[in-house]
Symmetry: C2
Subunit: 195 residues, 2 copies
């Protein structure tokens, strides 16, 4: 019996190929033709799933951030410690390093494209709200000082995580996992007196 592959699964499969292409050759290498050739579909089939290169890139960005959003959601529902959850967002592994690469590539796309700027806003706003919930949950567990404003703290944490990732992305060998984690801890300790 043939395996039933549905619409969403095919889109996710195509996004994976787009992600690899962006990593290996840059955004400019992403064409419907090249993606079709790599995924083994005709360009007509790929065009059935994505009406344009832009739509493929927006969806690929969404996939990369949704994976990480799901990770934060899971950490909140399991009551994982705040610092450990944040560590998993850093480019400590090959997989996460590639996610950050995808994000930077997407942040460099044309702001005049409404689909691009909408996806930027949605990505950054979702991250902010997840960090906010993470902080509230840490406060409830007595892991985060109750007197610190959660909204400002969420923005600060976004700055720390994005800032560390920006340095690691550009000089990976300078930033082994331990150094990234130590830097994150030091920034959180300095700002919020966490331990």
């Amino acid at each position: 019996m043939p395996r039933i592959v549905n619409h969403d699964e095919r889109r996710i499969l195509i996004a994976q190929v787009v992600d690899d292409l962006v990593y290996e050759q840059g955004v400019q290498a992403v064409t419907i033709r090249e993606v079709a050739s790599r995924v083994g579909y005709s360009t007509t089939v790929v065009s059935h799933y994505f009406s344009s290169k832009l739509e493929m890139l927006v969806f690929t960005h969404q996939q990369a951030r949704r994976k990480v959003e799901a990770l934060i959601e899971a950490a909140i529902s399991h009551g994982h410690p705040l610092i450990e959850t944040l560590e998993h967002l850093l480019p400590l592994t090959e997989e996460r390093w590639r996610d950050w690469h995808t994000w930077f590539a997407f942040w460099g796309m044309a702001p005049a494209e409404p689909d691009v700027s909408r996806e930027w806003r949605e990505g950054t706003s979702n991250a902010h709200h997840l960090f906010l919930r993470l902080i509230e949950s840490a406060k409830a567990a007595g892991q985060f000082p109750a007197n610190i404003d959660s909204i400002s703290a969420a923005t600060q944490i976004q700055i720390y995580v994005n800032g560390i990732a920006s340095l690691v992305s550009q000089h990976r060998s300078d930033w082994p996992a331990e150094r990234q984690k130590a830097m994150l801890r030091s920034l959180l300790q300095g700002a919020f007196a966490l331990d």
Copy 2:
């Protein structure tokens, strides 16, 4: 008498066109043909200045960072206050916002390209050394606590500046200049007890 345009000036002129293209249509829009058409040269002439699209993009990234590096150099030699100098690096203006856009776009290029990863390392390392000199100069002027390690402080400041810029780039209307400056000051005050 015709104005004499030298090799470097032409490269800078072409880089400006590349920068505009990346901003308006993304990295994928950068082709020798399109650049030639916009700058008003033949593709042969453009190819004389840049052997490839990649070389044009690397040079464009260099131009954007050199402009900001010169700004920091000038601030050091004039003894400008540390916080004011750092503020000028934030995407407070249209020009600087576009510079950040260029950097993000470049950070999303393919790491397998040696010219790309070399330029990443050089950019981040130059920024680090300039921040270090800025801190040393602020220490000498009594504007920065002498007991704080300059090297760690330089890395921290890079994280703050890049982190703030990453949020602003994705949701510009949320981050008017005053909010960016207030955030930078608050992070510097929290970390280094500056005022």
